[in-house]
């Protein structure tokens, strides 16, 4: 559906370099990466707002590199919504339809449909600058959907909303995606959005594509140390394979031996990552099942993060774990407490495999 074929774009001091990826029809594709990585430029390139210096951009198999935005049939919603401040809500939504010279009754119909779909009929004559964030978001989505685009581009659309609103819009977006069978490409920082909505994702850093794959794939096997760090793995650890037999190997991490499934030969250095939520902390005297990795350590820091308690444990190297607050309180964890923690074999994800 959408393909970047070795695309390079230079804009001032910034360059996107040799980007290739594909988004299939009907996918909910996420582009993630740190600020300034070039995600927005990537979206704008799909919309036709930047012409590639090298490479081609394909839409539905056709090279559209030189086709201007007005002929691409791509909807775009920016983080700041970019509503037209000199037009009412209604006129904002009708803008695209007017540009496509549709007959007036049809424009009216479509606009009515969108107003009622997003529950904003009462806002029709309002000036856009008087709307709340959630209302602006609805208008921006309605305006983009009015032209019935093949692809919807969303540039961090939820980042300016409060948490309740955010949850609501995740459902709205899910509905839009399912009802219209629309291809959606969304830029985001938010792990929750990606895991709730995404089918596939690409990770961009410093203008380069670091990894592309299904959301599950990327989270299960980050391509590099910085990908692992960026997508939220708090434990990125170096070790050495000391034994490898029957698809299972033992990794030595500063004296701690961890067991995992892998076929990496003995003696090889590896980097792996473990989610903080995958490290389960027990009282020091607890009994644990035999096939899990069980490690003893000492708590070096305890901090509250909302409903969760974040614990750092020294076991030769430092592990980060999160646990529900209640469990931490029950165990009366404090700095200096000796603990036992367990890590499932499958929670140890070798990077770059």
């Amino acid at each position: 559906m959408i393909a970047f074929d070795h695309v390079s774009i230079a804009l001032g001091d910034f360059t996107l370099e040799d980007i290739s990826f594909t988004v299939k029809k009907g996918e909910y594709f996420f582009i993630i990466g740190p600020s300034g990585a070039g995600k927005t430029i990537l979206l704008e390139a799909i919309a036709g707002l930047h012409v590639p210096d090298q490479g081609r951009i394909l839409l539905a198999g056709k090279d559209v590199s030189m086709i201007p935005p007005e002929q691409r049939g791509v909807g775009l919603v920016y983080q700041d919504y970019s509503l037209f401040p000199h037009m009412t809500v209604e006129k904002n939504i009708a803008f695209g339809l007017k540009m496509h010279h549709l007959p007036l009754p049809e424009i009216k119909n479509t606009v009515e449909g969108l107003l009622s779909r997003f529950g904003i009929e009462h806002l029709r004559s309002r000036a856009t600058l008087t709307l709340s964030g959630g209302e602006m978001q609805r208008v921006a989505l309605a305006r983009a959907l009015a032209i019935d685009p093949d692809v919807l581009l969303l540039d961090e659309p939820l980042s300016a909303l409060d948490p309740g609103m955010k949850e609501h819009f995740i459902h709205v977006l899910k509905d839009i995606h399912q009802e219209n069978g629309l291809t959606i490409i969304q830029v985001s920082h938010d792990r929750h959005e990606i895991l709730s909505l995404g089918t596939r994702m690409a990770l961009v850093m410093d203008g380069c594509l670091e990894q592309e794959g299904s959301v599950r794939q990327v989270y299960a096997a980050p391509a590099s140390r910085r990908v692992a760090g960026f997508i939220g793995y708090e434990n990125v650890i170096d070790g050495v394979v000391v034994s490898s037999r029957d698809g299972e190997c033992l990794i030595d991490v500063s004296g701690v031996i961890l067991r995992t499934s892998c076929t990496i030969p003995e003696g090889r250095k590896v980097t792996f990552c473990i989610g903080a939520d995958e490290i389960v902390v027990h009282p020091i005297e607890a009994q644990v099942a035999g096939d899990e990795n069980a490690v003893r350590g000492v708590v070096t820091a305890v901090s509250q993060a909302g409903y969760l308690t974040r614990v750092r444990i020294d076991a030769g190297i430092t592990f980060s774990a999160v646990m529900v607050r209640e469990a931490a309180d029950t165990m009366a964890l404090k700095v200096g407490s000796p603990v036992l923690f367990t890590i499932r074999k499958t929670a140890i994800r070798i990077i770059g495999q």
């Binding site: 791509v74 401040p85 008087t130």
Partner: protein, 278 residues
């Protein structure tokens, strides 16, 4: 906060911001200067009302004022037509050429107006690089209306282009981008989105340029002493008829300009204001 009311004079005094007070005192020097200048000429003129009326009904004076305002309007019209596209390009592109162009545009700002006048004269005189071909098609600049217009134009360009460029820059590129993805060509996005959103700045640029144009003297007399614009007429009357006559014309010019600016400001109070929250 100093004037937020309530309390005795002493309490107000104690709450007052000493920096603001000091700055107000220093700054008022300039305000007083302007006020005194205005008051002096007004009082002298009102003291001699019959003469003022006589000058005001002098067709040469009326014609001169109309000529000046007309030439100023022509300049604004040319700037709207040529300056607006230039301002847009400067606002939306980031090439190295831009700073060169901007420096060129700004030249009249940093030159004595007589120098500007000589530059315009050399270019538009009958043997000039542009004056010669224009003469072929029957347009002469020396001592003619077109000469007044080009001299005024040259010195007004930076006022218009810079103001409008800033206006265009304030229109977020994102808004324009969205309009384009919705099916507007770049030109339509310019007409339907950028232009209305910078209407106020375009007006400001036009007013500034017009004001600059009608106030030009040195550059104009170099190429077109005749027909006399108001500045020329005032200078001429000053050197021949003396202060009495020239200050009467000056006062009329003040009245005319003031009323035009006032009417413009009132008429366009709400133009291009979308960011005032209701």
């Amino acid at each position: 906060m100093a004037d937020s009311g309530g309390g005795s004079l002493w309490a107000r005094y104690k709450r007052a911001d000493s920096t603001l007070i000091a700055f107000s005192l220093i700054g008022s020097t300039l305000v007083i200067l302007s006020f005194l200048a205005l008051a002096t000429i007004t009082l002298t003129q009102l003291a001699d009302l019959p003469f003022l009326i006589k000058v005001a009904t002098d067709t040469r004076v009326i014609n001169s004022i109309l000529l000046t305002f007309g030439a100023g309007l022509t300049v604004v019209f040319i700037l709207l037509l040529f300056g607006t596209p230039l301002a847009y390009v400067l606002a939306r592109t980031h090439s190295r050429v831009n700073s060169l162009v901007e420096a060129l545009i700004d030249i009249p700002l940093v030159l004595p107006h007589t120098v500007a006048g000589i530059m315009v004269y050399l270019l538009f005189m009958q043997r000039g690089l542009l004056g010669a071909p224009f003469k072929e098609i029957g347009i002469v600049f020396e001592d003619a209306f077109p000469g007044i217009v080009v001299a005024m134009l040259f010195v007004s360009i930076p006022f218009y282009v810079n103001t409008v460029r800033e206006g265009f820059q304030k229109v977020p590129v994102h808004i324009e981008n969205v309009a384009r993805t919705l099916g507007a060509t770049r030109f339509r996005a310019f007409i339907l989105i950028v232009l209305p959103l910078s209407a106020r700045q375009i007006l400001n640029g036009s007013v500034l340029a017009w004001g600059r144009a009608i106030s030009e003297f040195a550059a104009v007399i170099m190429i077109a002493y005749y027909p006399m614009i108001v500045s020329t007429l005032i200078y001429y009357r000053f050197t021949t008829g003396g202060l009495r006559e020239s200050s009467a014309i000056a006062f009329l010019m003040i009245l005319a300009s003031f009323s035009i600016f006032l009417v413009l400001r009132i008429a366009t109070r709400y133009l291009g204001r979308y960011d005032d929250r209701v």
